[in-house]
Amino acid sequence: MKQVICGACGKVFEGETEEKANAKYLKHKCKKTGFTPTDVEHYDALSNGRFSLQSKAALARGEKRKNSKKK
């Protein structure tokens, strides 16, 4: 059995494969943040809101590279 542990709340998810264990992890509502690991709010809660700022910066870099390729 493979295990995936939520680094925030510590809950352990098991599955025959890592993918199956991870699918369970991705669906759980984290007791520490109140959100699932697919919600932006989950990461903002763990980083005092810094995740959204980093995400905006990542989008800006991605768009800048995309636009520079068009030229």
Partner: protein, 167 residues
């Protein structure tokens, strides 16, 4: 909406995954979020390797995540060296997991950059030009600190994990 991205760490012979780690403390135990005071490294020895991946848990409507860059800011203590498999040239491709070593790594052989790399230095699907268009994982980032026998104190520095996101 935006993609949700975090760092996952893999430990022990079982390759147990801890998602959304909150630090990358390094020391004399193969464990996530370890306490370096409780697990100090004997001067002259190595920390356990860290085996980590950048994980996209949802694309959030975006089309691509790519251009992964890894570097550390802040000095190490004494004459310690921080080594990694992340590199911009002659990248070794996707590594297969092996139980983290506390002896010198056979994979983390490149000095960890101390400034932002010019180009990607960690791959996706074995390639530095790889990209994720759905939830998934990067190649393994492996890194380790080697200390010198004359080192007397640890240090605190910042690991940077950067990605580009295309809407």
């Amino acid at each position: 909406m935006a993609a949700t991205v975090a760092i996952a760490e893999f430990n022990t012979v079982s390759e147990t995954k801890t998602a959304s780690i909150t630090n990358t403390n390094m020391g004399d135990t193969d464990a996530v979020n370890l306490d370096p005071v409780a697990y100090p490294v004997t001067p002259g020895d190595y920390t356990y390797e860290k085996w980590q991946k950048i994980e996209v848990t949802a694309m959030g409507g975006s089309s691509s995540i790519d251009n992964l860059k890894i570097w550390r800011t802040g000095a190490l203590g004494g004459s310690a060296a921080h080594l990694t498999n992340a590199r911009e040239t002659t990248y070794g491709g996707a590594e297969t997991f092996a139980t983290p070593l506390v002896t010198v790594s056979t994979i983390a052989l490149q000095t960890m950059p101390s400034t932002e790399p010019t180009d990607a230095n960690l791959g996706i699907g074995g390639s530095l030009t790889g990209a994720l268009s759905a939830a998934g994982l990067s190649d393994y980032l492996i890194h380790q600190i080697g200390t010198d026998a004359g080192d007397v104190a640890g240090s605190t520095s910042t690991m940077n994990y950067q990605y580009d996101e295309t809407a």
